[in-house]
Amino acid sequence: MSKLLTVIVASLLAAGPADGHLLQGARAFRAGRYAEALVEFKVAEKLGAGPDARAYAAAALVKLDRPEEAVELFGPKPASDPVLEFYRALACYQARLFTCADRALEGAMGRFGRRVEEEARALRAQIKRTLSAEIQPEAVDWYLRHGEEALQAGQPVLGLLYAAEARALGGRRKDCHRCADADALQTKAKAAAGAGEAPR
């Protein structure tokens, strides 16, 4: 009985400091001190604040203009919180992963607050304009090259998303430029990421 109580009390106490860091991170983020917010969220994650803290750190990376790292930290699956999904879309967008960004926003539309919904709509319009241009083979090559580089650098999620982007853009061309290469890279990246499903 006393052992059980000790375990309960210990586990309840453990959650305390992590929340303090989350709060500090939130205040720093709101004040625009993103580097400080990033540190606080990372500490909170280490103290057991859960997967949300990881996503908050990724959002801070987006604001620090480090989209590739943010994409990797967010992971391949959609975030449950629509605001975090907005930041994941921003990370994809800034990393030139346009279809990734658009899918993320599409899945979260209607769940944002009013202001964020407007931002999301504007971002989707920008993406649509960008993708309305004819897809050049060089663009597909660029994604494949960066996908390979990301895999080599130990960033499997980023590699997977670059491969998916190459496949999506290559598929828009009549000749389906290097679609087989993109498929092969996706398979390789999935194995590296341990992700059994297609990225969103």
Binding site: S2, L5, L12, L90, Y93
Partner: protein
């Protein structure tokens, strides 16, 4: 036995009261983060474009040329420093680098003058000389 149960209940109550407060803290922390994220959710100033390997390659080549020019100056500096081989090496290196950089600048100005002269020869108005930073 009765005493143990009473003690256990007290301990549980003591743990649950702050735990309740902590649960509220956790909720308020997440609420605060959510509000902070929403307040800063804006589109980036820079709009990325579709990558173009050709233009990326051109930028890389341009950078390589620029570094090549600087590299020539650096190589000259190192050679001069090696030749001097004493305390004046640093000064010699700086001097050599300055000379090399100056030559590169002169070469660029000469090319621009040549271009303007060519324009005049063809009966065109000469373009304005570039007064900006040259590197």
């Amino acid at each position: 036995m009765k005493a143990t149960i009473t003690a256990a209940l007290f301990a549980l109550a003591a743990a649950l009261i702050p735990a309740h407060a902590r649960a509220e803290d956790a909720t308020s922390a997440r609420d605060e983060i959510r509000e902070a994220l929403e307040s800063q959710a804006r589109l980036p100033d820079v709009r990325p474009t579709l990558p173009d390997q050709a233009s990326d390659r051109a930028r890389e080549v341009h950078a390589a040329i620029a570094f090549g020019q600087k590299g020539t100056a650096e190589r000259a500096a190192h050679q001069a420093a090696k030749a001097a081989g004493d305390a004046s090496a640093t000064a010699a290196a700086r001097k050599a680098a300055e000379v090399a950089a100056d030559r590169a600048g002169q070469k660029s100005q000469a090319a621009a003058s040549e271009h303007r002269a060519d324009e005049v020869r063809k009966g065109l108005p000469p373009s304005k000389p570039n007064r900006g930073k040259q590197d």
